[in-house]
Symmetry: none
Subunit: 134 residues, 4 copies
Amino acid sequence: MILINQRDRRPIYEQIAEKLSDLMAQGVLKQDAPLPSVRALATELSINPNTVQRAYLELEREGCIYSVKGRGSFVAAVQQIRDKKREAVFLDLAALVTRGHAAGITEEEFTGQVHILFHTARQTEYIEKGVSHD
Amino acid sequence: MILINQRDRRPIYEQIAEKLSDLMAQGVLKQDAPLPSVRALATELSINPNTVQRAYLELEREGCIYSVKGRGSFVAAVQQIRDKKREAVFLDLAALVTRGHAAGITEEEFTGQVHILFHTARQTEYIEKGVSHD
Amino acid sequence: MILINQRDRRPIYEQIAEKLSDLMAQGVLKQDAPLPSVRALATELSINPNTVQRAYLELEREGCIYSVKGRGSFVAAVQQIRDKKREAVFLDLAALVTRGHAAGITEEEFTGQVHILFHTARQTEYIEKGVSHD
Amino acid sequence: MILINQRDRRPIYEQIAEKLSDLMAQGVLKQDAPLPSVRALATELSINPNTVQRAYLELEREGCIYSVKGRGSFVAAVQQIRDKKREAVFLDLAALVTRGHAAGITEEEFTGQVHILFHTARQTEYIEKGVSHD
DNA sequence: GTGGTCTAGACCACC
DNA sequence: GTGGTCTAGACCACG
């Protein structure tokens, strides 16, 4: 379900947190569904439980999950997570447009590339859904 | 000319390197123009010369500048810098579209936002140019 | 494992980086094998950790190793390192032949010397392997 | 006659010294021929006279030229210069073969490349001689 | 424990 | 004056 990329410059806990919140935003993890226990996920990924713990802490801080002592962690309101992600994307987009504009990229070039990329994203999604039918 | 944001997660030397390469890509720093000396920029920004040195090292490695012992550092081929920046922007855009698509953002929403942001960028540029006429 | 030559004109960090990448190209350090920690190597060589750090930075930039915060540094794709080194050798060879030709060295003299040197290199390698059998 | 490459990492005085000794080894500057005066060469190359002075000092130290107070500098025994250059080339070749051997280059590959490069060098020389007939 | 960043201050080669 | 290297020692984030 989750793949850790040791070569990725981002810390492992961040990779886990992002991947999990992605799954929530995409609806794979439904609202109020239980997340795997810290120890279970740590074992599965062969990493230190502290690292998983920190990922969960991060997610809780962001309001993506809520933890109940002795019972575990659960997915918070999915729509809220989605909104957060959307907001983050638009924030990063603003920075990217600024950089692109400074580098002389025109709006037409930019939107053209966006069109291609969205097309690719839809294709990929289609293929993955097809595979998931197995 | 350069502002360091201590709250920025990125290291100072990276902020400096990016800001300088931006100025080159925008043509503010012309080809073969001398950059401020390591010590001068360090004094101006109230930081350690080693940090500026590292920023220059980074830029030299990327081929944005060339440094000559005893003479100073100079802007390399501007067009090449521009191309590098464009490429980097499109690379980051690909990741961003993937994230946006996963978060349920449609192509229309995305390009709509791009349009607004480009408009803002052009406005900002216009104002800055106006100011520089003083 | 690594010997620093203080009389060498090249900086220490460069000597370390080259020696390490040599070990990788020769297969002594296998892919994904951990390198000695920055502090450990610094202590072993009786130099400042910053200098080792810079050597590792150099290697990472060249794509020879990848470093993970809190875990250590590891050998990247060995074949790629080998290819880089081959390419660099052939590049330097081109400059050397130009110089030799200008100095009146004939192709026969040149290849004759190359033959002797390769013979020596093979001998040295043989001896080293013999020693490592102890 | 001499072109300074500001982007070259080597100091300017070294570039000048090498270029001049090249011209001597190739016989363009004959034995006991006068070199341009320090001031003249400095003016011609638009550089600091100190730099030219240092280049001449270097050449004198290597025994490539001899200076007579009040009269100028003159080319020393050409054959000796040639020998020095040959020696230097063979020394560098030894290091290069070691590096190449470590990178897995075979003697056949190496000499094959040498053959190609010598062929190219002869071609280039031929063309230049043709041009110099003007 | 690890690597990454930064400061402070020194020395060198070059121009 | 310039850039380049090195040391010493500190702090941070990560596992």
